[in-house]
């Protein structure tokens, strides 16, 4: 296959993934719609006493309803997995379409494509062990929306990486950032569900069928506990190593770095909050959301708000404009000026 064919394959992969995720969403919709009016009798709370016959199922609705919903739920998971496969092909195609072949995260379009893939993959990997089937519709719905936005607004044709990006430290750094982003995003979703569930007193509908708030809280914690060391590794170890090689100093307080640091500190605060009386539970969940906001602001916002970031996805025109500004007749030390202009050889990320 040549590069153009790989690129086409990638685009078809995205389209196919979108369609299959949509079908998965429909399957989940069928499942939840069937359950909509059936009131929920609380099952024995998950995690209750071992000896006390834990895991007794909720009083089953009519036999056929339960069968139908179960089938729909299984179909949903199956379709999600098929969608993830197409999603993966789309990623592979992006990497193979570039010359030389490379990792598929050269720009925001590809980063989003990879990040959403991680969200789905993490969900699929943990759904059985942690009994997360209730999370299916939300995950698929979320990923579908983000993919749609990605294709509509962020799409870019395949291009090779600039030289500064050709470093395996960078590959590791970005893999870590993407995996952590996926985990934190799932954690944010479960934190929102936790906050909603803790407020809600209804006994029908989606919220009512979610597990206990304590379970949601724990799932959320696990997602964050999984993401935090990876984020630490990506942002505080491999990031600086790469920055040292490429920019000659390992920490520059570049806006992208500042926000990665802020994100890290907020998540550290989240972990602390869970161990502090009065902050456990609701406040910790709010902190998790603040962390997610910082995370996503760093990814999207900084590129639009900051012009000093060496990480910015600068294009020629932007560089030109800023340089013209810089040669305005102010008495400046030459060296600074040069540093800035030479910084015009921006890595893209």
């Amino acid at each position: 296959m040549n590069d153009a064919q790989w690129e086409t394959l990638s685009n078809q992969g995205v389209a196919a993934a979108g369609v299959v995720y949509f079908l998965a969403l429909l399957a989940y919709a069928v499942q939840w719609a069937a359950l909509r009016d059936a009131p929920v009798r609380q099952a024995v709370p998950v995690g209750a006493g071992v000896g006390a016959g834990a895991g007794a199922p909720a009083e089953a609705p009519a036999e056929d309803v339960s069968h139908r919903t179960e089938m729909a739920g299984r179909l949903g998971v199956l379709l999600t997995a098929v969608g993830a496969l197409a999603h993966f092909v789309a990623l592979l195609g992006r990497g193979m379409a570039a010359d030389p072949n490379r990792v598929p995260w050269g720009n925001m379009y590809e980063f989003t494509l990879s990040g959403t893939f991680v969200v789905v993959a993490l969900f699929l990997a943990t759904t059985r062990r942690w009994r997360l089937s209730w999370l299916g519709p939300i995950v698929v719905g979320f990923v579908l929306c983000v993919l749609l936005a990605d294709v509509l607004w962020l799409y870019e044709p395949v291009a090779p990486l600039t030289e500064a990006l050709e470093s395996y430290w960078l590959v590791i750094h970005v893999v870590a950032a993407i995996i952590a982003t996926g985990a934190f995003t799932l954690g944010a979703i479960t934190s929102v569900l936790y906050l909603l569930k803790a407020r809600s007193s209804k006994d029908t509908g989606y919220l009512a069928r979610l597990p206990e708030p304590a379970v949601l809280d724990r799932v959320s914690y696990r997602m964050h506990a999984f993401g935090f060391p990876i984020w630490t590794f990506g942002v505080l170890i491999t990031g600086p190593i790469w920055a040292h090689q490429a920019w000659s100093s390992y920490w520059n307080w570049d806006p992208k770095e500042v926000w990665a640091f802020i994100t890290w500190v907020v998540y550290a605060a989240y972990l602390h909050a869970r161990a502090t009386a009065g902050w456990r539970g609701r406040n910790a969940a709010y902190l998790a959301l603040v962390g997610a906001a910082a995370l996503w602001f760093n990814f999207i916002g900084i590129n639009f708000f900051s012009t000093t970031s060496q990480h910015s996805y600068a294009n020629g025109a932007e560089v030109e404009r800023s340089v013209v500004l810089r040669v305005a007749p102010t008495a400046v030390e030459p060296a600074q000026e040069v540093r800035v202009v030479v910084g015009a050889d921006h890595p893209r990320r």
């Binding site: 834990a54 600086p240 040292h244 920019w247 520059n252 910082a294 030459p334």
Partner: protein, 550 residues
């Protein structure tokens, strides 16, 4: 942290919060109270949030250390706000008093938090697992069964079974009716390691910023130009506050040649862009040492001792000679032109001849490595531009100025900027600005007997960044340790198991087994499984024991 306390909900740090502040504290009590407040978990939490908050302005407002040019522009644009921002240190947030105050408080809090926990931990390591609570069945994870075995037999087996699961077990035959076991001390060790490592990282970073330096130099390519590592040779130099010049390693180098690999494949989307830059360096680690070669590339710095040399940019330097009205050479040599377009290397530059007679001469203009005329949608010629970054058809287009070009009065004018305040532009007789378009070898005579300008040829320059960051390996070791500690702290699950066996009135033995998970993310399912496994192992054995006896 709370390893000695069985109840997760009551951490010592939380208890401290509950201590009210009586009005009649003695000074000593007050100091102690403040210390407790400072080292409490809640304060750490608030300080962390404050740190995150305090970092934000630096990402929005231009920073002096990062982009001082932007700062001066910002000052010009906001004359009212700038003094206020200055007073608040908002142009150097990360070195400001208030930012430092937050992280120093955090560090003090951290030390105050770790040291006692280290002591507690050291004691906990040697301590025996806590005795079984009186009522095991009240614990959330517990179960019981009856058997006709003697309690001692059950307990002995329990001790063996649990020990095999790598718990620390406390049981002496005959001394008690229960076995106590504990596992997962590494969690607290990991947590302590993590927090200690944060301090190590900070020390490493501090050493680097106090004793290190970072400097840059623009060097022309060629054997005629060289750099030796001392202060006078740098264009810009940013030392740490405790930097000592004597640590500078006495190396020197020249840039033998510089290669750029341009993408010429017309099918490539990025045709015309550069793929690889390589500076072929000739360097000596000290005067008199052997000559060595190194290919300096982006992402591949050269390390000499503790100093790193980086290639961070490149560009063109047209060699321009200005002859003045008297026919004397007033200025000659390569002049650095700064790229204004990272892809086509269209560059902007200034040539000054302050010694020219009868009047000083300044030139300002654009260099096009591959000159081309742009075309608009209708195919009409529009602005000149550069089609490629490599010099296929170099052309420099200049305007001339006379008057005070600003170098002879000693003011610190930039060599990259022509201050036109005291100059007049050279005009043609028709009143249009006089413009020269020169290709290599071309000479143009300036009007009014001012002199002439010759474009002799092209030279290249490299921007070299040189930095010495002592302590960077300390910082790296710190983060790596922090990560290891973090993994222990997040994923090791400390837990306790108790087994109690008591003879009941009817002669049977009641065996109670309980488990207590002490981690934040404890998984009820694995907990349940572990408990079930233990119970199964306890009940399974009788058969084997009997078979063994038989």
């Amino acid at each position: 942290m709370t390893d000695l306390q069985p109840d997760l909900r009551q951490r010592p740090s939380d208890d401290r919060q509950a201590t009210p502040l009586p009005m009649d504290l003695t000074a000593r009590e007050l100091a102690r109270w403040s210390w407790r407040q400072l080292t409490s978990m809640r304060t750490a939490l608030v300080l962390l949030l404050l740190l995150a908050l305090a970092a934000i302005p630096g990402s929005v407002i231009p920073q002096e250390d990062i982009d001082s040019l932007k700062v001066s522009q910002w000052r010009d644009d906001h004359p009212r706000l700038a003094p206020i921002w200055d007073r608040l240190d908002l142009f150097s947030v990360y070195g400001s008093v208030w930012f430092s105050a937050i992280y120093i408080l955090l560090m003090i809090s951290l030390v105050g938090c770790i040291v006692p926990r280290l002591l507690v931990y050291a004691r906990a390591l040697r301590a025996k697992p806590p005795k079984a609570p009186r009522n095991l069945s009240r614990l959330p994870e517990s179960t019981s069964y009856e058997t006709d075995e003697a309690p001692e037999v059950v307990l002995a087996r329990a001790a063996a079974v649990i020990r095999k699961r790598r718990f620390r077990v406390d049981w002496t035959a005959g001394a008690s009716d229960s076995v106590a076991a504990e596992r997962g001390h590494l969690r607290e060790a990991g947590n302590l390691l993590f927090h200690l490592a944060v301090i190590v990282v900070l020390v490493g970073v501090a050493v680097g910023s106090l004793f290190g330096y970072k400097g840059g130099v623009i060097m022309f390519v060629g054997k005629d130009y060289g750099f030796s590592n001392n202060l006078t040779q740098y264009d810009d130099f940013a030392p740490g506050s405790l930097f000592d010049e004597s640590v500078m390693e006495p190396f020197s180098f020249t840039i033998d040649s510089f290669d750029v690999d341009w993408i010429t494949d017309p099918d490539s989307r990025r045709v015309g862009m550069a793929r690889k830059f390589v500076s072929h360096l000739d360097y000596r680690t000290e005067p008199g040492a052997a000559d060595q070669q190194y290919d300096l590339k982006v992402n591949h710095p050269l390390s000499i001792g503790g100093t790193d040399v980086f290639l961070i940019g490149h560009g063109y330097a047209p060699v321009i000679t200005i002859r003045d009205g008297d026919g004397n050479v007033a200025q000659s040599g390569p002049t650095v032109f700064l790229p204004t377009n990272a892809q086509t290397f269209e560059s902007f530059g200034v040539v000054k001849a302050p010694d020219a007679q009868p009047t000083q001469i300044g030139l300002e203009g654009t260099f096009y490595p591959t000159f081309a005329m742009g075309r608009d949608a209708d195919g009409r010629l529009t602005m000149p531009s550069s089609a490629f970054g490599n010099a296929l058809d170099p052309l420099v287009s200049l305007f001339a100025y006379t008057g005070d070009v600003g170098l002879d009065d000693g003011s610190s004018a930039s060599v990259y900027v022509l201050d036109k305040a005291k100059t007049t532009q050279v005009m043609k007789s028709d009143g249009q600005p006089f413009r020269m378009d020169l290709r290599p070898g071309d000479t143009v005579t300036l009007p009014d007997g001012l002199g002439s300008v010759t474009f002799e040829g092209l030279q290249r320059w490299n921007k070299i960044q040189i930095s010495r960051t002592p302590g960077k390996l300390v910082a790296l070791a710190g983060v790596v340790l922090a990560l290891l500690g973090l993994l222990g702290s997040l994923f090791v699950r400390p837990r306790r198991v108790w087994v109690r066996a008591r003879r009941q009135d009817d002669g049977s033995t009641l065996v109670e087994v309980a488990r207590l998970d002490r981690s934040s993310g404890g998984d009820p399912e694995t907990g349940r499984d572990e408990l079930a496994d233990i119970v199964a192992a306890l009940q399974q054995h009788p058969r084997e024991d009997r078979e063994a006896r038989a």
